[in-house]
Symmetry: D2
Subunit: 357 residues, 4 copies
């Protein structure tokens, strides 16, 4: 079968023939891949920038791909899923040692000894079939077959927001009518993650403003209009806000927006980048103190977040199916993968590879 | 009666004669001041550095002092306290408008329109007597009469830790034996706040390391030894930690210690300063993200935190009464206040003014 | 305009002509009623059994109806809703005095001095138009126009489950994969509330078993099959469970199922009835203690629960639109209301009154 | 060495000679027992009433005793405790399989396959020495040497209150001043557990009323006066309350007090008994629903609760040392154990056995 592999830390990808997986054993499922998504992490691996990328133990090549959706082709004994079920696999697999991994919260792994499919130590899903344990499969309703490939990136958004909802119960953050309708969120970045945060926050009642250094593309304009959020250039008058979601990781942009935070506000740190530097003054720290601000870094997601991501997708599929479809700006064949994996194309939100129907 | 007043933004203090308060009305108590403490905020007001200091409306002078303990001298109707009860007054009084103030959590005031006794818009407690509403009084057991003046600074520590305990339930932060005994805290700063954080964290099971740029003074050595925590110079090998408590507010020290944080770690921002700057690199933000770190600014305290501060004082009074006494390094007469308010003296931890016995 | 009124504690209802509401003032909306639902509370009022039913102050008649959906017909100044928006009104309006009402959580009113539209002290929605404050309106996506009348009963389910999710964080209740997929819920009663609980719990990952004393009706069979839950007669082998949701209020059924609860289990008390009695033995209490069981009574809902109810409806509308439609077993004209309000008809799940299109 | 053993399900106890434990291995401590307490569970085992009592695997006799305090006599490798440290051992040891036991919360064991020292499957502490793992030891300050034997019963109270504080954040349960000072608790039963609940609730700001069917004994009067709580006979006018703590387990008393609960109230079920029955009417269930009442059964405690129990003891030792001493109404020699274990003596609160000084 066809597979897309990398040899970290070497640059580049190859489309190669690999052996098809065997029939599923007890507790396992064989999945036929439908779609896989491409994200910045994939490109970071392909470009040799992500230092933590590594093949499975005693192997030289790693199958790429962690955003995926597939159809169950065969099941082993004791499995509750059925042939034909649509599934999305969980990416990170726990260290088995720390308490968080023991309770299924590998997104909070303490030891760092986890593996991640398509990223570090575990083959990913850019291949025609994969064999996996049922416990790592998240069932997706058939209605979401074409859009469920967004589940994985969305799961990370859900985990971050899960943190937010929990953390902000530290104070009274709901409004006079018990909702979040009086709260404003600034989302830095209009990539897929920024837009998914915007959809989720809007669903939970926030007024959302997506920020970028440039004007919106046509598709960004359509999506933000349909999902009911505002797009602003960073230069324009950014209003005070209760929440800043940073999907970019740029110190200068973050430090520029922190003064916009109201008392008891929150910051979600989600984006990562490198190289940039900006001066942090003691006055900024003083403001964080005097305003009771909470900042939380959030990475990865556990199965519960994938499941709640699927729930969000159902909501949005019912409310703005077109905006959801617009998120996938390009669908290409596996043969085109080595090319599209090199760099983000102009106007791209999410590019996906089609493996089967 | 004698009172110590300031005329912000002017520098300096005066010991003046002011009119004694009237007898208490319904719901009020008349309190005879025993001791008042001096802290950095007082000195910031006296030196004209704290821009938010202001007298009560339509007045030019402000009675200084927010750390205080007194004895009930007389009570108004419907009051449950009795003459002779020992009390500590709450400092901040809510705006009456925002939801947090409506539920008694003025430490989370959203509007900023609160007043603070001895700081902004409300007379403080550096005077022989004060009249106040009973609802702002926190009862203190007679055993703590000489040490209860620490309740106010401690209340702010309790509020910050209250935030911490709540926030860290976002992940599984307890150890294999259900306690915090496997967790290490780094406390930046060995002033009264740093030491109170150390006592409280140690009581809750943490290994605590107090950090300073210099070697400990003799009294700091005695206190840290008696309360069972370690004192380290910042240059020495600081071990990895689960919690950083910053009581200093210096960006350079904070950024130097962030890399010590383990996965799922937490940072309490408590200290405020000004002037200093340090470069924040994108790599630091990436680490906060990848490690699921939470940072929280915390200011002020509500009555519940005063009450739990009193509980801590009882614990420590039973376990290490001498260390507690050592915290008060100097007791002076009100006449000496203008001088001691100018600057921190060498070796000072807490200086108090004695108003009566 | 036509209105359905009652004169509690008298039995019976009348369809009468009442004056149309005036145009909306600042902050108000005029709503044209589309549908109103009928529930047990309405029938309890009509039959004179609900002792707390009462007309607004200084009035003798009360407009009935608290389950409702309408279309905005006109708006007053400062209103964000637009003409044509679909809305569901909140039922309970707070006492204005207790802390819970002050923060918009009138479902937790401490004083009991709230009013409830169509139930006590406030006119309901069984009329062609109603004027109300915008803050009590919950916006509903147009896709849910025909089914959004279920929002109000669902809001109470959401509030109860909101309690459950919060309460069960007291222990580790999630499964090895971080979800609730290993948990089983027993739902006593297959009325609209029982079915809405089943849909919501199933969406959250539970295996759900709906229990009744009788076999399912044809429509119940269809709905439970489509939503993926099981229907069991109480006589049949009921398996051990982690959660019991009681929508009936019968002491004998409840006490019969409590022994099915596993360690750390939970019970939601939602149903109310009267007259029945059953012996409670000390052994039952011992089991609740030894098993760390939590039981919570839950009543009413706040605006946040209405909003999240609307989110659930979107999910279900996307996943099983037919099952959702089947919930409304009968749609009648207001003229028929006096008759259908007398008693539940055979096979009825939810009967609605059509006021306009 | 001397040990007190039982042979469940046979009645009676024996003081026998058993072999002294070996020197501690890695991670172990050898403890010289100072005091052991006697409680209802011990007497239930001795009288053959507690069906779950059982000796360790393949043994016929069980060393009795789960309330204990001792002094470290020798330590194995890698142990942090020192010879001379005062310690209290944890009672329940987890099943090693369920998630709660894996994270050190064996008090929430799901499988039921735990063991409990002195109760089921694990030797207890009524013996001159015992060898145990350090991880099960809770360090106690030397000041509490004579009173720390109360730590174990108190740990169960702390766990129950820990549940309460968590559960009641479901609603706004704090008062207008952010404390619990406006809340009233009814504690059913004035035994050691009832009094420890009273001390803890009073420390947290509650007004506490201890209830019994009879008048207080002289020592009960002294203790309740010193700790600042009220003692009422059940016949007397019991006021409405926010919390009912049931340490008795009697259905009739419980059902009699439920109507006293205010809106959003809570019930802690802690006591267990048998035999008694009382009618539960549907109206009681309706009240629990309409009032949003939460009831929670609570059993056992984890190490964190022992540690916080020790903290409470320090508070009380500082505030009312005499009341604490009065809790131990009798100290006897091991030779007297078979007699005092038969039945509670008149006026007994806590009887302890003295093993060494």
């Amino acid at each position: 079968m066809k597979s897309i592999v990398v040899r970290p830390p070497k640059e580049g990808t190859e489309l190669v023939e690999t052996e098809s997986p065997p029939q599923p054993d007890k507790g396992e499922v064989l999945v036929r891949t439908l779609l896989t998504g491409i994200c910045g992490t994939d490109r970071g691996i392909v470009n040799g920038r992500l230092k933590f990328a590594r093949p499975p133990l005693k192997r030289e090549q790693l199958v790429l791909g962690h955003e995926s959706i597939g159809e169950v082709e065969a099941i082993g004994g004791g499995v509750e899923l059925s042939k034909g079920d649509i599934v999305v696999p969980v990416v990170r697999r726990g260290c088995g040692v720390c308490l968080n991994c023991k309770i299924g919260r590998q997104d909070f792994c303490e030891t760092g000894n986890f593996v991640e499919a398509g990223i570090r130590g575990h083959d990913g899903f850019m291949r025609e079939f994969f064999l996996d344990q049922e416990m790592y499969m998240v069932k997706v309703p058939p209605q979401l077959k074409e859009i469920g490939v967004l589940t994985e990136p969305l799961s990370n958004v859900v985990k971050a927001l899960d943190q937010l909802w929990f953390l902000q119960r530290r104070t009274l953050w709901t409004c006079e009518d018990s909702t979040y309708n009086c709260r404003t969120a600034l989302v830095i970045g209009s990539g897929p993650i920024g837009l998914l945060f915007s959809m989720a926050l809007s669903t939970e009642g926030f007024r959302v403003i997506v920020l970028n250094r440039r004007d919106p593309s046509e598709v960004e304009s359509k999506i933000t209009e349909q999902i009911g959020v505002k797009f602003l250039k960073l230069d324009d008058g950014v209003p005070p806000a209760d929440l800043v979601v940073d999907t970019a990781g740029s110190p200068s942009t973050l430090l520029r927006l922190l003064p916009k935070l109201k008392n008891n506000g929150a910051v979600i740190l989600f984006g990562t980048t490198s190289g940039e530097r900006e001066e942090l003054s003691a006055d900024v720290i003083t403001e964080l103190v005097e305003r009771n601000v909470v900042m939380v870094g959030s990475v990865n997601a556990s199965k519960e977040h994938f499941q709640r991501g699927v729930t969000y997708l159902s909501v949005w599929h019912d409310r703005f199916p077109e905006a959801l479809k617009l998120m996938i700006t390009s669908e290409v064949r596996p043969e085109e993968a080595p090319e599209v994996l090199k760099a983000k194309s102009k106007g791209e939100i999410k590019t996906v590879l089609r493996w089967s129907q």
